[in-house]
Amino acid sequence: STIVLVFEAPRGSRPSLDEGWMGEKTKIKGGWNWSVQKGQKVKMGEALGYV
């Protein structure tokens, strides 16, 4: 069995402004970073990546 996650996340590492669904501006600090390697064994609850 397999689980596939597809998600949207900020790109790049510089802070930017993002417009929310109600038009509010949110400051994004940093972008998406992976914290795993291909083939790595992971346990539930371990970080795969972070913003």
Partner: protein, 443 residues
């Protein structure tokens, strides 16, 4: 023979030019025919492991009757060819039944210990220390872990692993293609489905009549579809503004902005509302997920986690998010071992899977458990209506395909249900970080 070979005079004659041209023409025709058939077959590929042949009248055969679903015969090495001839779903169901047979009391502990030794199960983490409690392998396979056995990463901005397993692949999605192991790619539309679901799929929307009790959700049809619209109109009245769709929050192609309401909801004809909803659900020109990457400030990423037979087979929420809808693709049940993932292109788009679509802090979020031959049953805790790897769903898929053909509409290959009524505010089912969502069961 010796005399014939030795004495016979060999005389060469030129082949007539016309015959040679005719032969070459036939060979060319044969090649073109093969190529066209392959192209047509690719075009006809749907997203659930079956082909819905298009013939005369788009969805009907020469006899005018709707064409039946035809199983995809994937190309690949002989192992894949052999596997494609097997009745994998039936085998999976038999395997499930077999594993539900009760094991004699005194054989349970040695049996489970042997299984744990072979597949590397850490018995010290199992919630129930007395292995006699598990009557069969199916219940041991779906075991719980001790509280605290899987601490969550303290970083609140981290995306957690949804289950124990191995990270097979991860990366960014470029031009809507998800890269599989060893460079094989498949389209995101094939994996998740397109933004528009078939009418039959819309008819089976999930609707809970009592707000806030998503556990009691039931399947509904057109009447309740109208009720869902009414429900949203009521929500709009409370807020004084009209959100044209329940998927205002959703990751669909059109990012909806609140619209000032011109009239009272009760004066709006239902047919008009329905038309509005249908218009809102219509496909945009761009892929439905592409507008989510807002002005290139965000990107789509993916990660594939493979669960080996000895792993803990319940899965959890990797972050705080809202599941808005689920799409059930009743496809095939090939093995999803890393070997087959390398050798069978588009494996995830052939297999039976449940696609949960929603949103998280940063936008679009989807969570797709993909079934396999040995673990064909996918369970979602907050969706009691979902039935995977069952004869009923196969029959329903056949019927939906035929009904879509009768209406002259293409069948999208999945049945969609929404969790709108789970929370009137969120328009979906909210999931906490690390919360158990469901699991894979044997057979």
């Amino acid at each position: 023979l010796r005399r014939a070979l030795g004495d016979t005079k060999i005389k060469w004659y030129p082949i007539p030019v016309g015959l040679g041209i005719g032969f070459l023409g036939l060979a060319q025709l044969y090649r073109i025919n093969n190529r066209e058939n392959a192209r047509r077959r690719e075009e006809d590929l749907e997203t659930d492991g079956y082909v819905y042949s298009k013939g005369e009248g788009e969805n009907t055969g020469r006899d005018g009757r709707p064409r039946r679903r035809e199983r995809i015969r994937p190309t690949g090495p002989w192992q894949v060819q052999v596997m494609s001839t097997l009745p994998l779903k039936a085998m999976s169901r038999i395997w499930g039944r077999f594993n539900e047979l009760e094991i004699p009391y005194y054989l349970r502990v040695p049996g489970f210990k042997l299984y744990s030794w072979i597949f590397g199960v850490n018995l010290s983490e199992v919630a129930e220390p007395d292995l006699h409690v598990y009557p069969n392998l199916a219940s041991f396979f779906y075991r719980k872990l001790k509280p605290g056995a899987r601490p969550l990463d303290p970083n609140q901005n981290a995306l957690l692993s949804p289950a124990d397993g191995r990270v097979l692949q991860f990366g960014a999605i470029v031009n809507g293609d998800v890269e599989q192991v060893k460079g094989m790619t498949y389209s995101l539309d094939s994996l998740l489905g397109t933004s528009k679901s078939s009418a039959s799929a819309n008819d089976s929307s999930l609707f809970s009549p009592s707000e806030g009790t998503p556990q009691q959700s039931t399947f509904t049809s057109k009447e309740n579809q109208e009720e869902i619209i009414k429900h949203d109109e009521e929500f709009a009245n409370v807020n004084g503004i009209s959100y044209t769709l329940p998927n205002l929050f959703s990751g669909d192609s059109q990012q909806k902005q609140p619209v000032k309401k011109s009239g009272d909801a009760s004066t709006t004809p239902k047919a008009a509302s329905e038309a509005e909803v249908r218009a809102d659900l219509a496909l945009g020109e761009r892929p439905w997920y592409s507008s989510l990457t807002r002005e290139n400030r965000t990107a789509l990423y993916y990660v594939v986690v493979y669960l080996a037979p000895g792993d803990y087979h319940r899965f959890h929420s990797p972050t705080a998010w809202v599941a808005e809808k689920r799409r059930h693709f009743a496809g095939e049940l090939y093995s999803v071992s890393p070997y087959l993932q390398r050798t069978l292109p588009g494996l995830f788009t052939l297999n039976e899977r449940v696609v949960l679509i929603g949103r998280w802090r940063w936008g679009f979020f989807s969570y797709t458990p993909v079934g396999a031959t040995n673990v064909g049953s996918i369970k979602i805790n907050f969706d009691r209506e979902l039935r995977t790897n069952s004869l009923t769903t196969d029959t329903e898929a056949d019927r939906a395909a035929e009904e879509a053909a009768k209406r002259g509409e293409p069948y999208t290959g999945f049945v969609e249900a929404t969790y709108d009524a789970a929370s009137p505010l969120l328009h979906g089912h909210a999931l906490r970080r690390g919360e158990e969502m469901g699991g894979f069961q044997l057979g």
